[in-house]
């Protein structure tokens, strides 16, 4: 069993193998994302009962919470990919890390924007220095830091290593940041805990949330494989398998 994982792991490491395996999974992820998104959206927007307190405005949760969850998930995936890249010097790991940076940053932006859009009806202000939203803002700065650092280097290989190191330092700091923001929040306005998608939600409200979260996961997988394949091709332009693939694609 361990041997199977190891050689799968090594096979995924080489760009050519990754290209082939990714090619197999892209349509599958794409279809799963589309189906789950449509079903989740339908259930969330139409079927789920309105919240007794917030009325229909709570339906923003079906976009806000999955995006916030994905922004953290993508950052952790980047940190792991960076660590693998640094330790085993695996090109594909760095490619996965760098290509998911823009996806993660977009998810953070979505979480922030929908958070403030949701804040207007419930708290009356566009921006509320609430613990979760503030940590989301800091996470956005972490993403920006990585992307700016990566683009500052001329030599791609050093840029990847520097970005990986910053990503690992960042992921170690995320719990510290979260804890300090919670403490800071309780310091200034006491706890204005708003009931968000906690377990107290009835099933009819919770299932769309899980479906949407899953659909965002598939979206991330789908888009990551597409972008990583393109990046792999651009980086491996010298080798023959890239010529072969591009020629065969152009004929199509």
């Amino acid at each position: 069993m361990w041997q199977a994982i190891k050689n799968f792991y090594h096979r995924m490491g080489t760009p050519r193998e990754f290209y082939r395996i990714a090619g197999y999974w892209i349509p599958i992820f794409g279809v799963c994302f589309a189906v789950l998104f449509i079903v989740g959206a339908y259930l969330g927007l139409v079927v789920a009962p309105a919240d007794y307190q917030q009325g229909d405005s709570f339906r923003i949760i079906y976009v806000h919470v999955p995006a916030a969850w994905m922004s953290l998930f993508v950052y952790v995936v980047m940190a792991f990919a960076g660590a693998i890249g640094l330790i085993w010097r695996m090109k594909m790991a760095f490619i996965v890390m760098i290509t998911s940076a823009s996806i993660g940053a977009t998810f953070t932006f979505i979480a922030l924007a929908t958070g403030s859009l949701w804040g207007k009806p419930t708290w009356g202000t566009w921006w509320q220095w609430e613990a979760r939203l503030t940590s989301e803002l800091v996470l956005l700065f972490l993403y920006i830091g990585i992307m700016v650092l990566y683009s500052a280097f001329t030599e791609r290989k050093t840029a990847e290593k520097a970005a990986a190191i910053l990503c690992i330092v960042g992921v170690i700091n995320i719990p510290i940041i979260h804890y300090s923001v919670e403490w800071w929040n309780s310091l200034h306005q006491g706890s204005t805990v708003i009931r968000e998608g906690g377990p107290a939600m009835p099933a009819s409200m919770l299932t769309p949330l899980l479906l949407m979260a899953l659909s965002f996961q598939f979206f991330y997988g789908w888009l990551l494989f597409i972008k990583a394949r393109t990046q792999a091709l651009t980086q491996e332009q010298g080798s023959s398998w890239v010529k072969q693939i591009i020629e065969s694609k152009q004929v199509k």
Binding site: I60, V63, S102, L117, P121, Q250
Partner: protein, 69 residues
């Protein structure tokens, strides 16, 4: 879904602005990611195509020079 009526659905209990704008924003952001990914692919193919043409042209020029000299 018997009592579904369209206009009420759009009104979203008075919060139409917020709900629809946040959903629209999410979809637009995700779509922009997909578009940029596909655009990058196109650039790669076009760039590759140009390079192969250039190197082919250069080879012909060299061949012609050799045949002349």
């Amino acid at each position: 879904m018997n009592d579904f009526n369209f206009s009420e659905f759009i009104a979203m209990g008075g919060y139409a602005k917020y709900v629809w704008s946040s959903w629209a924003l999410t979809i637009i952001a995700m779509a922009s990611l997909v578009v940029s990914a596909i655009r990058k692919r196109k650039i790669l193919y076009r760039q590759y195509h140009q390079q192969t043409q250039q190197s082919a042209a250069r080879k012909q020029r060299l061949a012609r020079q050799q045949s002349k000299s």
